[in-house]
C-alpha cells in the first residue's frame, strides 16, 4: 500500500516546502486498524483532499494531525512541529473545522469569534479588527449579534471557517466541510475556502466523499480506503491512470474494487443524517 509519490522524508525543520509531513502513521482501535501506515506530504499553499467513503480512516487521520488523537505508531510533522512531542506548537499553527457542529448555537456569531480570539491569545488591540474583518469576509455582519442556533447551515459553516482562520494558521484541516449543505451553500463555501488560500497562502487539507468537491477544489488528492492510502496525485494524474474519459469515481472503483457510495454502518448513517439536519 505504498502511495505512488514516494517523496523523500522531509528534514525536521528548515525551509522545505512541506507543511504537513506524514510518515507511516498508524492508529489502531483494538483489533481494528483505522489508519494503516499513512505516508504523505502536503506542500505549503496546497489544497489537499483526502477522499474515501465514511469509515475509511479520513477523520482518524485528521484527528491525529490536529493532536486530538495520539497515533499508535509512526510520526508526523505539521508546520514543522512533531504532533506527539510539540502539541502546543502544532495547535498554534493549525485551524480545524470538524465534521460535527463546532460553532456554539447558544452564543452569537460575534461571541463565537471572540472565544476563538481569546483562546488563541490574539493581541487585545487586534481582536475586534480581526473579528470585524472575518464577519465582513464571510458576509455575516448583519447577523453578528444573532444566536448561531438561528443561522442556516451555510452560515454556520462560514462562521466555523472564519473561526478556524482567525489566528492565521499555516494550515487548516477541514473534515467534510460541505456535508449536508445544498449546492448553493456548497459553492459558497468553496469560494470562501479558495479566497482564504488566496489571501493568506493558507494550506488546506480537507476530507470529502464527494468526488466533485475533490475534483474542483483540490490540487492533489489522496485516496483512502479501509485505512490504507492507496494513491496520491493530481485529479488529472489519477484519472489518466484509469483511462480516457475516466471520472474520479472510476478511479476510486479501480483502486479499491469498491464503489464510493458504499456507506459505512448504522453509526455513520446516523451521523451523516444528523449532520444534514443540523447543517441543512
Amino acid at each position: 500500500m505504498s502511495p505512488d509519490n514516494p517523496a523523500p522524508a522531509a528534514p525536521p525543520s528548515g525551509p522545505d516546502r512541506a507543511v504537513v509531513s506524514v510518515s507511516a502513521l498508524t492508529r489502531r482501535f483494538g483489533p481494528l486498524v483505522a489508519v494503516d501506515g499513512a505516508t504523505l506530504q502536503v506542500q505549503r499553499g496546497e489544497m489537499f483532499g483526502l477522499i474515501g467513503p465514511n469509515g475509511a480512516g479520513k477523520s482518524t487521520l485528521v484527528k491525529m494531525l490536529t493532536t486530538l488523537l495520539p497515533p499508535s505508531s509512526g510520526s508526523a510533522r505539521v508546520a514543522g512541529f512533531d504532533i506527539h512531542t510539540q502539541q502546543a506548537e502544532v495547535r498554534r499553527s493549525i485551524g480545524y473545522v470538524p465534521q460535527l457542529l463546532s460553532a456554539d448555537g447558544e452564543l452569537t456569531g460575534y461571541e463565537n469569534l471572540l472565544l476563538s480570539a481569546r483562546l488563541y491569545l490574539l493581541p487585545h488591540g487586534e481582536r475586534e479588527r480581526r473579528i470585524d474583518q472575518a464577519l465582513a469576509t464571510m458576509g455575516l455582519q448583519d447577523v453578528r449579534d444573532r444566536l448561531v442556533g438561528t443561522y442556516s447551515g451555510g452560515m454556520i459553516r462560514r462562521l466555523e471557517i472564519a473561526q478556524s482562520a482567525l489566528h492565521r494558521p499555516q494550515v487548516i484541516f477541514m473534515d467534510e466541510p460541505t456535508i449536508g449543505l445544498d449546492p448553493t451553500a456548497r459553492h459558497a463555501v468553496w469560494g470562501h475556502v479558495r479566497s482564504l488560500r488566496a489571501a493568506y497562502g493558507t494550506s488546506i487539507v480537507l476530507t470529502t466523499h464527494q468526488m466533485e468537491e475533490a475534483d474542483t477544489l483540490c490540487d492533489r488528492i489522496g485516496v483512502i480506503h479501509a485505512g490504507h492510502l492507496v494513491a496520491v496525485g493530481t485529479p488529472r494524474e489519477l484519472k489518466a491512470r484509469v483511462g480516457e474519459g475516466a471520472t474520479l469515481d472510476d478511479v476510486f472503483a479501480s483502486l479499491t474494487g469498491a464503489a464510493l457510495d458504499m456507506r459505512g454502518d448504522y453509526r455513520h448513517v446516523r451521523e451523516e443524517r444528523r449532520g444534514a439536519r443540523e447543517h441543512g
Binding site: K63, T66, T67, L68, L69, P70, A88, R91, R92, I94, Y96, P98, Q99, L100, L101, S102, A103, D104, G105, E106, L107, E111, L114, L115, S116, R118, L119, Y120, L121, L122, P123, L147, Q163
Partner: protein, 265 residues
C-alpha cells in the same frame, strides 16, 4: 505571538480561562430560564422539608433552630445538585463538536477545565442569592456581616468548582449522556446524605461518620454554617474548611486536565 515572559504566560492563561468562563456566562445571560428553574428545588426543601422537621424537633442541632441549621445545608446541597450534572453539558458539547474546537486550541487543558469550573461557581452564586432571600423570608437569622457574606460566596464558588470538575471527570469515564444520568443520581445521594447537610454528623453510626468526614460536602456545609448564620459556629474551623475544599479542587482539576482530552479521541 505569545509573550514568553512569566507575566505574559500568566496573563495568557488567565485570558484563556476567562474565554471559557465568559462564554458560559454569556449563554446564561441569553437564556436565564435554567437559573430560575434550578431555584425551585432548594426553595421546596426549605419550605416543605424544613418546616415539617422544624416542628418535629427530633434533631438536636446544638441550640440553633432547625431552619437555621438547615439553610446552609440546603445551600450546599443545591450547589452539589447543580454541579454534579455539569458533566452532561460536557458530553453534549462533545456530541455536537463544540468541544473539538476547545481541544485543538493551544489553551492548556487545565485552563479549559478551570474556565468551566469558574462558570459553575457563578451558577452557584445565583443559587446562593435565591436561598439567602428565601431564608430571609423564613426568618432565618442570617449574619449581617459583609465579611461573612464574602466568605460564604467563596465557599459556594469553591464547592461548585469542586463538584462540577468531579462531574467532568465522571463524564470522561462514562462518555454517554444516558449512562451519566444514571451515575449522577447514584453519586448525589451518598454525597448528600453522608454529610452534615440536614443532620449533625454525631447522629450517624460510627462507620458513616468516617464517610462524612471524608466527604468534602461536609466541609462546605460546616463553613457555610459558620459564616451564613448570625449565631453560626464551625466544628472544624473555617480556615480548615476552606483549605480542605481548595486542596480537593486543585487535585480534581489536575485529574480532570489529564482526563479531558479523552473526550474527543
Amino acid at each position: 505571538m505569545a509573550d514568553r515572559t512569566l507575566a505574559g504566560a500568566v496573563s495568557g492563561y488567565a485570558t484563556q480561562t476567562w474565554a471559557v468562563a465568559d462564554s458560559e456566562l454569556r449563554k446564561l445571560r441569553h437564556d436565564p430560564w435554567e437559573l430560575l428553574t434550578r431555584a425551585v428545588q432548594p426553595i421546596l426543601w426549605l419550605t416543605l422539608f424544613g418546616q415539617v422537621m422544624a416542628h418535629v424537633r427530633g434533631i438536636s442541632t446544638g441550640g440553633v433552630g432547625y431552619l437555621d441549621f438547615l439553610a446552609p445545608g440546603i445551600l450546599a446541597q443545591s450547589v452539589l445538585f447543580v454541579a454534579i450534572f455539569y458533566g452532561i453539558s460536557v458530553i453534549w458539547e462533545r456530541d455536537l463538536g463544540v468541544l473539538h474546537r476547545y481541544m485543538v486550541s493551544p489553551a492548556p487543558r487545565s485552563a479549559l477545565v478551570l474556565g468551566k469550573a469558574l462558570s459553575s461557581g457563578v451558577r452557584g452564586l445565583s443559587q446562593a442569592i435565591v436561598i439567602y432571600l428565601c431564608a430571609l423570608a423564613m426568618h432565618v437569622e442570617l449574619s449581617p456581616n459583609v465579611g461573612h457574606a464574602v466568605l460564604a460566596a467563596l465557599f459556594v464558588v469553591l464547592s461548585s468548582a469542586l463538584f462540577s470538575t468531579f462531574s467532568l471527570v465522571v463524564a470522561t469515564i462514562v462518555k454517554t449522556r444516558e449512562r451519566f444520568m444514571g451515575i449522577g443520581q447514584v453519586l448525589t445521594m451518598p454525597i448528600f446524605f453522608a454529610s452534615n447537610a440536614i443532620y449533625p454528623i454525631e447522629l450517624m453510626p460510627r462507620w458513616l461518620q468516617g464517610v462524612a468526614l471524608a466527604n468534602p460536602l461536609s466541609y462546605a456545609v460546616d463553613g457555610l454554617r459558620a459564616v451564613m448564620l448570625r449565631a453560626g459556629a464551625s466544628t472544624f474551623g473555617v480556615v480548615h474548611d476552606l483549605a480542605v475544599l481548595l486542596a480537593a479542587t486543585v487535585v480534581m482539576v489536575a485529574i480532570a486536565s489529564r482526563m479531558y482530552p479523552r473526550m474527543t479521541q
